[in-house]
Symmetry: C2
Subunit: 128 residues, 2 copies
């Protein structure tokens, strides 16, 4: 399987797949012509990566998860620890964003948004 087919199959851009090889997340074989020749296991790994990345795991988390995935003697506690830590970060980010959203929504609400210069948004940012 060439990289284009893998890209189509996984939804990952070819560039990203090459990058994942570069940082040793996948190691596809090479054909005689120098093209990457992806096996089913590579495809599987890449799908795993795509899903993990979609859940917001960092590349290094993905690397660890992938290693655990391939380790039959793993302890699910390790997986859960990584996931829980990530979950906390997500929750924290959401909290941050909701604060921003609340503040900003209020400001946008109170701004007329017409052709006059008077603006509570700038007033607030300026600290007046």
């Amino acid at each position: 399987m060439n990289i284009g087919d893998v890209a189509a199959a996984t939804g990952l851009p070819a560039k990203t797949i090459r990058y994942y090889e570069d940082i040793d997340l996948v190691r596809p074989a090479r054909g005689a012509n120098g093209y990457r020749a992806f096996a089913e296991t590579d495809l599987h790994k890449l799908r795993f990566l795509a899903r993990a990345r979609a859940l917001g795991f960092s590349i290094e988390d993905c690397r660890a998860l992938l290693a655990l995935y391939g380790d039959d003697g793993r302890e699910s506690g390790e997986v859960k620890a990584i996931a829980s830590k990530h979950l906390k970060k997500i929750a924290a980010k959401i909290a941050d964003l909701r604060n921003m959203e609340a503040t900003l929504a209020h400001l946008v609400d109170t701004c007329a948004g017409d052709d006059r210069p008077d603006c509570p948004i700038l007033k607030d940012l300026g600290g007046d």
Copy 2:
């Protein structure tokens, strides 16, 4: 006022302030010794920037907002447009994160997290 005092006054790291000068967001004068000499207006701008950044505005948004702030003939509609656009992005990000959170929370919940290898998190990521 030297950069250290400004950093203390605005809460911005000195490095960040230098960076802001680098990208022309502020233009502090220079003393005879080569030190940046911040005026009140610089301080005010930096506080503005710190607040805008805390609300998640991009540097380029900040640049635009700062220009509008200093423009007496501005139309508040322009400000509101920038803020509304940003607000939408925040809302979208929150939605994304909440999806991740929901999925991940469920997975973490169903994972025993003990010394056994069986793990629904990896199962899900693996697509099984």
